[in-house]
Symmetry: C2
Subunit: 205 residues, 2 copies
């Protein structure tokens, strides 16, 4: 019995980016049909001759997919592994949209040193808490509300979810976007309708 220690990937730097991010997208479910390897962002998969993306194999790095082109609409975090159909990466959603039209790497994802502050009210006001772990239930951890007013990501990248246990709408928060400042729920994503967030976790490179 040989017990081995799990190794985390080395943190990324600009110079080896092309090596660190690789995803293969497929037009059909279960890795069938037209496919293409991507190593950097794709603003519109139709420009690459795809109608839609229905399965994905993430070879390296963390990625985020979007419902619409130009990184708009619902967000889907994609970490290393296989997603054979839409249900596998979309999670549970109020309405069932089976579209992924753009995707990009999450360059700042850093599982070991992620850190953010959440605030009770918008504009970084009210009660606040620093997070540097994964929180499947913010309320179980002591956060009094099922809403978050604003957030500041100091290091790394997080994904916030509407419901406990990493369910519902997803919002990716990165230290290298908006200077890590998300001062109102309208900054969380073009699809965001409410300030409701009940679980938060780090994104893994």
């Amino acid at each position: 019995m040989n017990r081995v220690k799990i190794q985390t990937n080395p943190s990324t730097s600009g110079i080896d980016m092309a090596l660190c991010f690789k995803v293969t997208v497929f037009e059909q479910e279960h890795f069938q049909g037209k496919c293409q390897e991507l190593t950097s962002e794709c603003r519109n998969i139709q420009e690459r001759g795809f109608d839609n993306i229905r399965s994905i194999r993430v070879e390296s790095g963390a990625w985020v997919g979007y419902e619409h082109h130009d990184f708009q609409g619902q967000q889907f975090v994609l970490e290393k592994g296989e997603y054979p159909h839409w249900d596998a990466y979309s999670g549970s959603l109020g309405y069932h949209v089976e579209r992924m039209m753009s995707l990009r790497p999450i360059c700042s994802a850093d599982h070991q040193s992620s850190r953010m502050v959440i605030y009770e009210k918008e504009n970084f006001l009210g009660r606040n808490v620093e997070l540097c772990d994964d929180y499947p239930s913010l309320q179980a951890m002591g956060w009094c509300d099922k809403q978050v007013g604003s957030m500041h990501v100091q290091c790394g990248a997080f994904v916030c979810y509407e419901y406990p246990g990493y369910r519902g709408q997803q919002y990716v928060m990165e230290c290298d976007r908006h200077s890590g400042d998300y001062q109102h729920w309208r900054d969380w994503g073009s699809h965001c309708q409410t300030p409701q967030i009940q679980s938060i976790r780090r994104i893994q490179q």
Copy 2:
């Protein structure tokens, strides 16, 4: 600006169990219709006069819901917070079953000291790794395969998922069930069809 530290709940003991586990179940979505408070397991919600459960408010403790009575079928982890409809706790599934017929507390859940070993092959054979954190992608952490052969939970409770990012079928693994031994994928749950597991996380009390 008053920065407060998030407090985790004290670990549970038999004596204060009734205080530590509380969930309110509703027959309709959005916390409407017939409702009932539960502080211990319920083998068949029909015996309590419910046709189905369509929304849930977890007041304290971690729970697991099941598709069928007597804790059979698909599993749904429930941590503190609000689940206004089926999509909010079911996650993404290959087929869309909107049933929760039984549920019970996860007494051994202990976010701070959870520890388990996963093995490449059944019967605790082959390459193995000790886990004591959350792993949204086992492959990104160095696990070579998208399958797990067997598992032993030493402390606490974990939930394993079919896909990365805590998506797909859920399997609850507890140190106080089967002595923490899950030697074959058929032991993971009555709904388990394959040994595929791509993400694992601790369950939070």
